[in-house]
């Protein structure tokens, strides 16, 4: 009953009054100590001398730790054990933590951390993918290659062949709340850690290793984050571990919060890619084959780079049935921040690759870019409604009469059986009035020299599930108290996406009660163990199902008991309208709970869920890595100024598939926020390092995220009216990441606008900053 309602975020009342607590807001005991890292000032080299006397004598300093002072493991990596908390004699990027200051205040720690005198024997730093490739500096033994058919042969025999190479920049998460952690020593040497993390279990694991205790001695709690976006999947490890070590050593509560500059200098960002492509097309616009090379800048440590780079490969087809494809992915090790998870997890970069191919091909073939895309879409499943309300089509159906049926399998051999994009596209093109606006824009552009407008459509097909199959599991813990109130805990973390509200809606609907009976508490490793990161958009899919399982266990016990009391079969017990009906009798939920309690029925249960049907071999690149796909499409219109490169988004229309949405208001919020963040990535958000590997854009003064005034003038967002064909929680679909990639339409619209300055193809890089647009517009106008 409570499912699928546009209810506000569960903590909205606390947020609007400033009472919602983040890690930095938790009251701490007197004498709490504050931490800061001393950072490497060079990109690569050996530390030859480290004079910390000035640091130690700085006012308020209690202790200074280096790698040698660490009692147990010196590692904060989520994967390979290749990321020391404090540098072990060697440094690998500007900003790498070298020593740790423990002081009486945040400021005292930061001031002291700047007072070290460190001498280095500098070595040559690899600051670009070219340098890393030349030095064969990489993760894994060689490139990963996935393929289907013989792409080279297919391309060679094509009517048109296009090729190009372009850059896709990284992206700073800029979660508004920076990284933060707080450790409180417990009796017995145990540790209670509050960490702003998407992955409490990993924090627990790393802290336990670092203080030499089993995981049971460490409890990690997180009520909420002020934004995560992937940046708090592994990047919080260093702070939590540092706090725990310092707390163990001093016996005091220890807190660490990165200053924004430190945060941007130390932590990883979205992976930057260079994508080269060669693609073949038939005269009619059908793609014959494509070959991609991804040069992935992974930074200095492995972190999550392998699955990120894999996911980029897995999204190199996006919405298109490509008969022959080859993707070669080089995971390069450079001397920059270690790139990490970021909303979409490589998917966006892979998708930008194929969307660029489509855009380029449409220009060369002189076919409308939407038409070209439609001709290459995967076929719709047999039961999809045909356009114009005709009878359902049988099997997967070709779009045009002249078209053959497509091979509907992805490059990794998974059949696409839930392809919703034909319908989504048809609806969106109509609601956005695409065709007419595109014509109007051509006319308008013909009359205007300095300003040009552009419009573009782009689709999204995004695979849902962790590609590391074992991560697709979740647990929940539910208690019903004797007064009929319900306490709910699950392994997911809240970072603003509304996960807690969604799972509470699930719990309320299982018990047929009002939502205000359900209390959701902080994520806690002592309540639900061995959780996966809240990532891969999987939060509500996994945790919603686990909560449902736990609730159903309790509900079934209650039904059995009440049935017995009223001499009715359990099946005659119905939970509805905040009451329980047993055949003719109706009682309140409180009464039911109290009766079960006095009847000695257990009112507490755990629930567990694992995603079915997955089967994936990441080395071969074959199998079924995803449970299902989420879809969406966007049309964006922009305007650019040739003389300055300035540009604006004028209008955006989005139709997004959230299945049968659990909470349309929260989902639309996700779509809007994700689109703006995606468009930011491809337009204004530019990371710049100087020749010595120093990040120059380490504050919002130089790194430009979208502001309120940058939002599209007209912004129409709707959810597609559908439901998940797979058996997910109430047939909903994951919504955290997929709409991020709708932002690609903004980049393509800029390409269209810039293209209007001349006859050539603009060859835009990403981000298409004002500078990039100006440069490309000049070139195009000069006919280059």
């Amino acid at each position: 009953m409570s499912v699928s309602k546009p209810l506000p975020h569960d903590a909205a009342a606390l947020h609007v009054t400033g009472q919602a607590r983040y890690v930095d807001d938790i009251p701490t005991p007197r004498g709490t100590l504050h931490l800061a890292f001393g950072l490497s000032q060079i990109a690569r080299g050996r530390i030859t001398a480290m004079d910390l006397a000035q640091v130690r004598s700085s006012p308020g300093v209690v202790a200074v730790l280096t790698a040698n002072d660490l009692p147990f493991d010196n590692d904060v990596s989520p994967s390979l054990h290749d990321e020391p908390l404090l540098a072990k004699g060697e440094v690998f990027y500007v900003g790498q933590p070298v020593f740790l200051v423990v002081a009486r205040s945040h400021r005292a720690a930061r001031v002291a951390a700047r007072r070290a005198e460190i001498r280095y024997a500098e070595e040559e730093a690899l600051l670009t993918v070219d340098a890393a490739l030349a030095a064969n500096s990489r993760f894994e033994d060689g490139p990963r290659i996935y393929h289907k058919g013989d792409a080279e042969a297919a391309i060679a025999g094509s009517a048109h062949v296009i090729e190009d190479s372009f850059e896709i920049g990284g992206q700073e998460h800029f979660y508004l709340e920076g990284q933060a952690a707080l450790a409180m020593p417990q009796e017995d040497g145990g540790m209670l850690v509050n960490s702003s993390t998407q992955h409490p279990t990993e924090i627990q694991h790393k802290v336990a290793e670092a203080i030499g205790l089993p995981m049971h001695a460490v409890r990690v709690e997180i009520r909420r984050m002020g934004g995560g976006f992937g940046g708090k999947e592994s990047q919080g490890n260093a702070l939590a571990v540092a706090c725990a070590i310092a707390a163990r050593q001093t016996g005091k509560c220890c807190k660490m919060r990165y200053d924004r500059d430190d945060d941007m200098t130390i932590t990883g960002k979205r992976h930057a890619f260079r994508i080269s492509y060669r693609a073949g097309f038939e005269a009619g616009g059908r793609i014959t084959g494509v070959s991609f090379t991804h040069l992935v800048d992974c930074g200095w440590a492995q972190d999550l780079s392998l699955p990120v780079a894999d996911r980029a490969m897995l999204h190199s087809d996006n919405a298109y049935a490509i008969p022959a494809i080859r993707i070669e992915s080089h995971r390069l090790k450079t001397n920059l921040q270690s790139a990490t998870a970021y909303r979409g997890f490589g998917g966006p970069q892979g998708m930008v690759g194929i969307e660029r191919v489509m855009d380029h091909a449409a220009h060369v073939l002189q076919i409308d870019p939407v038409e070209l895309r439609l001709r290459n879409y995967y076929d719709a499943p047999s039961d999809a409604p045909a356009e114009g309300g005709a009878a359902p089509r049988s099997a997967t159906v070709p779009r045009g009469i002249s078209e053959k049926m497509k091979d509907n399998s992805t490059p990794y051999g998974m059949e696409v059986t839930d392809f919703e994009l034909h319908e989504i596209t048809a609806q969106l093109l109509e609601s956005s009035d695409y065709a007419r606006r595109r014509r109007d824009i051509s006319e308008w552009n013909a009359d205007n020299d300095r300003l040009k407008r552009g419009i573009a459509f782009s689709p999204v097909k995004f695979g849902i599930s962790f590609t590391l199959t074992h991560l697709n599991q979740a647990g929940a813990l539910v208690h019903v108290y004797q007064d009929g109130s319900i306490h709910l805990n699950h392994g997911g973390t809240e970072m603003g996406q509304g996960l807690f509200q969604k799972v509470a809606q699930v719990a309320a609907s299982r018990f047929g009660v009002d939502l205000n009976r359900v209390k959701i508490t902080a994520t806690d490793t002592a309540k639900v163990p061995n959780t996966s990161a809240t990532a891969a958009s999987s939060g509500s899919d996994l945790n919603g199902m686990a909560v449902k399982a736990a609730c159903d266990t309790i509900r079934d016990r209650m039904a059995a008991h009440l049935g017995e009391v009223y001499q009715q079969p359990a099946s005659a017990v119905v939970f509805q309208g905040d009451r329980v009906r047993i055949a003719e009798t109706e009682i309140t939920f409180e009464t039911a709970a109290m009766m079960c309690y006095t009847g000695r029925i257990s009112l507490s249960a755990t629930g567990f869920y694992k995603t079915p049907a997955l089967d994936w071999d990441r080395i071969k690149g074959k199998g079924r890595p995803f449970f299902y796909f989420a879809y969406g499409a966007a049309v964006t219109e922009v305007i650019v100024d040739r003389l300055t490169g300035e540009n604006r988004i004028l209008r955006t229309d989005i139709l997004h598939d959230a299945g049968a949405s659990l909470n349309p208001a929260l989902d639309i919020g996700q779509v809007e926020g994700a689109y703006v963040q995606g468009a930011g990535w491809l337009t204004t958000e530019e990371l710049k390092w100087d020749g010595s590997g120093r990040l120059r854009t380490h504050a919002p003064s130089t790194y430009k995220i979208p502001a309120c005034s940058d939002r599209p003038d007209v912004f129409n967002v709707a959810l597609y009216d559908g439901q998940n064909r797979e058996d997910t929680i109430y047939r909903s679909k994951a919504v955290g990441e997929p709409p991020f990639m709708l932002g690609i339409s903004a980049w393509l619209a800029l390409s269209h606008a810039v293209g209007a300055f001349g006859a050539g193809y603009p060859h835009l890089n990403a981000p298409a900053t004002a500078e990039e647009i100006w440069r490309r517009a000049e070139r195009i106008q000069d006919g280059v």
Partner: protein, 164 residues
């Protein structure tokens, strides 16, 4: 170490007196000394607006003001705007119109918006967008923030008319 200074502030109607280093930043005074944690720290360089408070009728970013500069001032933070049982129309609107996700920007946003609506009680969407440009939000894409402010303005204007 600089000498401490005698500071007097009125925060959300309450008088506060203490000794502080003049260079103490106001955001730390509020958060650490006075336990007023609604204003958040987002950037500490006056770019994000998470720390926005009202001082003497103006929106101020508390991260870049010394406590000495605020000496004698009347300060309003999000805590002084309303409470969960007694929400300001802007607070109600942000809650009902989903003007927040992670909520970290929300106290600063609402505090800024109270001033915006004082300066301009019936703003156009354009005026809202530029009036709020100093407050960043990484989650919402701003659509619902603008909607919330519009709704609150309508609500407040209707209440004013009814009162007249």
């Amino acid at each position: 170490m600089s000498t401490k200074m005698h500071i007097k502030l009125t925060v959300n109607g309450k008088n506060e007196e203490f000794l502080a280093e003049p260079r103490e930043l106001l955001i730390y005074t509020l958060r650490e000394r006075l336990n007023i944690t609604g204003p958040h720290i987002g950037c500490e360089t006056s770019h994000c607006g998470a720390c926005t408070v009202t001082i003497g009728g103006k929106s101020v970013k508390a991260c870049t003001m010394f406590v000495a500069q605020a000496n004698g001032a009347e300060i309003t933070t999000i805590e002084g705007i309303g409470s969960p049982d007694d929400l300001h129309p802007l607070q109600t609107a942000f809650k009902e119109h989903h003007g927040l996700q992670c909520g970290y920007c929300t106290p600063g946003m609402i505090t800024r918006a109270t001033k915006l609506l004082e300066e301009n009680p019936d703003p156009t969407e354009e005026e809202i967008r530029f009036g709020m440009a100093g407050n960043l939000c990484r989650c919402t894409g701003y659509q619902n923030i603008v909607k919330s402010i519009k709704a609150a303005a309508a609500e407040m204007n209707a209440a004013k008319e009814a009162a007249e």
